[in-house]
């Protein structure tokens, strides 16, 4: 009797094709659905100006403008849904929205379930000084006074610097604004504050300069569900386009000052 050998290769290939088809189907479902409906559903927490804040006629801010610009580029309309910060990722996971645009920092521990676009803004800490006596990096702060916001991340970072930089004096203030005002007055030689606060204040005070490098990294990005490669690709393509034609910078300048 002739025994037929089972060849596993065709079975494995068939299984791989099935799996590939299924996962491709899931990816296409998201982008196909969005294209079919013509609506990009965006989730955000509208309590974080200048990125998103409730306004008279809805919601306004950098993320709002960004989402609308991307939607326009893709030929879509935007629908915003508001959530508390805690509920944002679950809202995406339960298909309440297609994408999150809410000043969210790229977070490695979420890579399993979510995917991030390229970053559109970095909100880390920056070193600010006066144009007449600029400090470009921490090494130049020997014997200097450094203004920080009391208890904020800059204060935490400065406490580490204090142990490393000779005769560095930390001056805490009640707010970022007060710390930067002290710098402007000459009561401090530099200030270590968050990038957003620094940009907003510098727009009103041209005597200040922000150091070229961020002291800490906090990259903001849009968020989609993991596996939605096509949606991620089109969002990234839009972001690249907006970066190349300066539209992204125009949005940032509008809210954060030039």
């Amino acid at each position: 009797m002739k025994h037929r050998r089972i060849t596993w290769l065709p079975i494995i290939v068939a299984a791989l094709c099935f799996i590939g088809t299924t996962s491709c189907q899931q990816e296409q479902d998201a982008w196909d659905r969005i294209q079919e409906s013509g609506i990009l559903r965006v989730g955000l927490d509208p309590t974080y100006p200048p990125f998103e804040v409730l306004a008279a006629d809805g919601v306004a801010g950098i993320d709002v403008d960004l989402a609308q610009a991307i939607a326009k580029d893709l030929g879509l309309r935007v629908e915003f849904t508001y959530f508390g910060y805690d509920g944002l990722y679950d809202a995406l996971a339960t298909n309440q929205v297609d994408v999150l645009a809410s000043a969210l920092v790229i977070s490695i521990d979420k890579f399993r379930d979510f995917a991030y676009t390229t970053s559109y803004f970095n909100a880390g800490q920056v070193l600010v000084s006066r144009t007449d006596f600029p400090h470009k990096d921490p090494a130049s702060l020997v014997g200097s006074t450094l203004a920080v916001e009391l208890g904020a991340q800059g204060h935490v970072e400065a406490a580490i610097w204090e142990r490393q930089i000779h005769e560095l004096e930390i001056m805490p203030f009640a707010s970022t604004t007060e710390a930067l005002e002290a710098l402007s007055r000459g009561d401090a030689d530099a200030a270590l504050v968050d990038h957003i606060g620094a940009l907003v204040h510098r727009d009103q005070d041209s005597s200040l300069v922000i150091g070229p490098d961020l002291v800490t990294e906090e990259p903001f990005a849009l968020v989609v569900l993991a596996g939605q490669e096509e949606l991620l690709d089109v969002l990234n393509e839009s972001l690249v386009k907006m970066s190349e034609d300066n539209q992204l910078q125009i949005i940032l300048d509008r809210w954060l000052g030039k």
């Binding site: 916001e149 904020a152 991340q153 957003i196």
Partner: protein, 410 residues
Amino acid sequence: MVRALCQRNGDSPDVDRLIIFNWYSYGDNSLRAIRKSVVKYQKYFPHLGKNIRFDPALRLLVLSLFLALIQPAPILIVAGQHEAVRSSHPIVAVHTRLTDEVEPWKIQRSLQMVREMGASSIVEFFPWAYYHGQDGGIAWEHPDLVIEHASAQGLKVVARLGLTPAWARPTGTPLTHLDEGAYDDFASFAAQFAARYEGKVDSLIIWNEPNLSYEWGYRQTPVSDYVNLLMKAYPAIKEANPEMRVLAGALAPTLEPEGSPWGLNDLIYLNRMYEEGAADYFDGLSVHAYGLTFPPDTPADPGLLNYRRVELVREIMIKNNDQETPILITETGWNDHPRWTLAVKPGQRIQYTIDALELAEKEWPYVEMVAIWAFRLPAPSKSYMDSYTLVTPEFVKKPIYDTLQEYAGN
């Protein structure tokens, strides 16, 4: 144990090159041990030639293995002798966040700093989903660690239980999804938790903010769903440990109206809990009382979400003849992020927090505990949530910690 790797020398087909290394030989004796092994085992492979080579690659491999095996002994963190909290305001408590803190020394350090600050109690979150396997086994290591260290620091523990394991909810649903099909499993876990930590955990909070659809996996659920959960969990817990207190509620302050897909006004929700028969199924009411942008003494108003909303909650309890049941404020606080619309300045945050504690002590005899959210996060959230903490992930004390420590008399 000896592993043998044989290669045939193409130049001499009758001679096999036998390379043997002994995994358990260390130090300078490694090569000698290897040669001894070769000689010893050669008798089992007589057909093999005696052309044994120890080429540089092998030596490097042996050295690498040796270096990998030489490791310092892990630092042993012991709970140490039992301490006692010294505080002139024992109402002060904190919500720690050790759920995702895996390093024992950080758990110990956090709880040590809690005691040193003068907080008498902690609220900590123990996710059911993290521990309970589908086979019924429960991984107790992490809760054991946290509770042991808390006990060693003399801290009273209030444990919140929540989040559903994947095997107890439909595929594709979030961790917060809980339906009646899993109530028995949850009750079983809660009972085992209560039994295991008898004498070390004071109270169990059943679920979290059930008046929000988010806490049910973004499902609109009737109040009866939560009451039914209490009716399952309460007797199971009491049977396992009659002394364990069961706390209901932890309702989220919200003004969401009837029919909202996002949740239901906490005052309406609590009243309906009583209507559904919840009163006999909890020993204390957990309350969240965030101040947002209002000073703590801002008068209570049904249309306002502020600290004194606790008084409106109390009125509902009294209206339902539940004045004997205490309130535990398991989350409260102010946020001092520079741009969050619901934050205050850092100096205001410190003052409001102290004032809130004093107010609770003087005016709310029914409030046993005021737990400030949150003591420390294991890692920065990179959002305004970081501005709720008292201590940074690097254990740097924020000024509010120092003020609270001074307030508690430490």
